[in-house]
């Protein structure tokens, strides 16, 4: 199916109505520039972002990107203006490079709702989800949720070195490499004989080429030392690896997923707090009259494309239309505020959760009269 952009006037009217709805929930309307400096974005997301965002440049400001979303500019603004509890809404175009599927829109409107407030995270999660669900309720979409925080807690609870935990945490949003690392640390893939020989060599630099470049011989030696220590590290018990895989396999409605995770937590107490965070969120959702039995949960939902979303995540999908992107998405991005806050002297960040709706899809699917 080709994504046909509906009448722009209708889309704009729908966007304005959605924004008004969020304003009446106490959100302050904010604007963001269309062109944003690419250095902060690239530092955050890496080169992969270039496949998703358009870049342009001039000789004075250097490289700029057409905003791929509002989250980063809104967080930057919030951190710069004192980081007090606040809630915002916005409406505007975002731009996404499409190199695989010409049918997908490369510019479209987004309307967002963001809450920066750490006083009751479960309540804030539930409020964002419920307000977005209500706003698009005529469309009867399938609600998906997830929480990468449970997997993170499991990694933190592993009986292994901090170096290994840090490596696993770093690749938590890249499932293939996470799996490769986990298999290695569990002793499932042996260390190569050449590597063992190198690590045991009296002078690992014997016969090596001259030192060139910024990465010094000292840094190479430091990494060899890390590898040596890792060689002596005992394997992660198979049982712990199985428990991590069990978490990743949880796919059920919210109440059933909670029960399954509580069972896993009996054997893996490190995840208990994270699981109870999910429990509190389910209660808060029910307090907002969300039918949680109709909401799906996968622990790893959004894992590959929502880097820095380190807790609750959600998406609203059009059933039987896998060709369409989610109509609304969102989640908790405390980690993002810590990374961006560090540049502004606020490394502690601020708990933040938010979501966006695509009014163009709302109109296209007949959810706007």
């Amino acid at each position: 199916m080709v994504y046909r952009s509906p009448d722009k006037a209708q889309v704009k009217a729908c966007a304005a109505a959605l924004r008004t709805r969020f304003e009446s929930a106490g959100a302050l309307p904010v604007e963001a520039p269309v062109l944003v400096s690419s250095s902060a974005l690239l530092d955050l997301y890496g080169e992969d972002l270039r496949a998703r965002a358009y870049t342009t440049s001039d000789t004075l400001r250097g490289e700029q990107m057409l905003r791929p979303d509002f989250t980063v500019p809104v967080v930057q603004m919030h951190m710069a203006e004192g980081a007090e509890p606040a809630r915002y809404t916005y409406s505007g175009e975002v731009f996404r490079r499409q190199e695989e599927d010409e049918a997908r829109a490369n510019e479209y409107l987004q309307v967002g709702f963001e809450i920066f407030d750490g006083s009751d995270p479960a309540a804030a999660d539930a409020e964002v989800f419920a307000r977005i669900q209500t706003a698009i309720s005529p469309l009867n979409l399938k609600a998906m949720t997830g929480d990468i925080g449970i997997l993170m807690a499991a990694v933190d609870g592993l009986r292994t070195s901090d170096v290994r935990k840090a490596a696993l945490r770093r690749h938590i949003w890249r499932p293939n490499r996470f799996k490769i690392l986990l298999d290695r640390y569990a002793g499932r893939t042996p260390v190569s004989p050449a590597r063992v020989a190198l690590l045991k060599a009296e002078d690992p630099f014997a016969g090596a080429a001259p030192e060139i470049g910024l990465r010094s011989r000292h840094e190479v030696a430091a990494r060899l030392e890390v590898l040596r220590q890792d060689l002596a590290e005992p394997a992660i018990p198979a049982r712990d690896v199985d428990l991590i895989e069990a978490i990743l396999d949880v796919r059920a409605t919210l109440p059933n997923a909670l029960e399954q995770l509580r069972d896993i937590a009996v054997d893996l107490p490190a995840i208990s707090d994270a699981v109870e965070t999910l429990g509190a969120r389910i209660e808060a959702l029910e307090g907002r009259r969300v039918n949680t039995a109709a909401v799906e949960f996968e622990a790893a939902y959004g894992r590959t494309h929502m880097e820095y979303y380190d807790g609750f995540v959600f998406g609203f999908l059009v059933e039987r239309r896998p060709d369409l992107p989610p109509l609304a998405t969102g989640g908790r991005y405390d980690a993002l505020t810590r990374v961006l806050g560090a540049a502004q002297g606020r490394p502690e960040g601020i708990p933040a959760v938010g979501g966006v709706i695509r009014p163009g899809m709302v109109v296209e699917l007949g959810g706007w009269a």
Partner: protein, 231 residues
């Protein structure tokens, strides 16, 4: 109208292309002096030779301004999104071999794979405060490869020439470049990562999927393909 054949306008690539067509009974050559970029074709009717920079041939094929073109697989894949839908590979010509590879300083004894590179990049970023720099002119190919291999904490810096020198000049920590023998890399104290071969490229004859053809052109193209033994 005629069938337009784009061929690299200078150097060994042009000569070897002329040889390849010549061996199949199609004589290509320059029309006037050595400095004139007009070509002539003998041995077949209705085919016109267009001499172009090898780097522009993918774009011209994509735009449908030439029907056939000889260029490297690397250039087609770097420059054309969904290249298979834009052009068809008619024949690999067996010369112009070059691999797009990832290379790091040879004294990095701790880096023997992409997996090591990824871990070294994490340590480098923590220490220096910026992502490890890889110099290249093949941004798309390198980025897609490293994404597929889940390498993080790197950045690409543009280098249009003398890429092997960027490490010594401290404008990059690693390079991704085309090599045929690896000699320039060794001379610059770099080593190829064993799993760092991004693409094996050679001179290839491509057909544009979008260039318009009259009935007459269609016959001329079919005759040329038959003459070249590609049918």
């Amino acid at each position: 109208m005629s069938v337009k054949l784009g061929v690299p306008s200078k150097g060994r690539l042009m000569e070897k292309t002329f040889d390849w067509f010549g061996q199949r009974g199609v004589t290509l050559g320059r029309a006037g002096s050595d400095r004139e970029y007009a070509g002539k074709v003998e041995g077949i009717e209705g085919v016109e030779l267009v001499l172009l920079s090898a780097g522009e041939i993918p774009r011209e094929l994509n735009a449908g301004r030439i029907h056939l073109g000889v260029t490297g697989t690397d250039l087609v894949r770097e420059k054309l999104g969904q290249w298979e839908q834009r052009v068809e590979e008619l024949a690999e010509l067996g010369f112009g071999h070059a691999d797009l590879i990832l290379a790091v300083p040879a004294f990095w004894v701790d880096v023997e794979s992409l997996d090591d590179l990824d871990a070294a990049a994490a340590a480098f970023r923590a220490r220096h405060g910026f992502r490890m720099r890889i110099a290249t002119k093949y941004h798309r190919l390198v980025r897609e490869y490293l994404k597929e291999k889940d390498v993080a904490d790197y950045q690409l810096v543009d280098s249009q020439g003398a890429t092997e020198g960027t490490v010594k000049n401290e404008t990059a920590e690693a390079v991704a470049d085309i090599t045929s023998t690896g000699e320039t890399l060794r001379a610059n104290h770099l080593k190829i990562l064993p799993d760092g071969t991004i693409l094996k490229s050679q001179a290839t004859l491509f057909r544009s999927r979008s260039a318009p053809l009259s009935d007459e052109d269609r016959l001329a193209l079919a005759a040329l393909i038959r003459q070249l033994g590609l049918d």
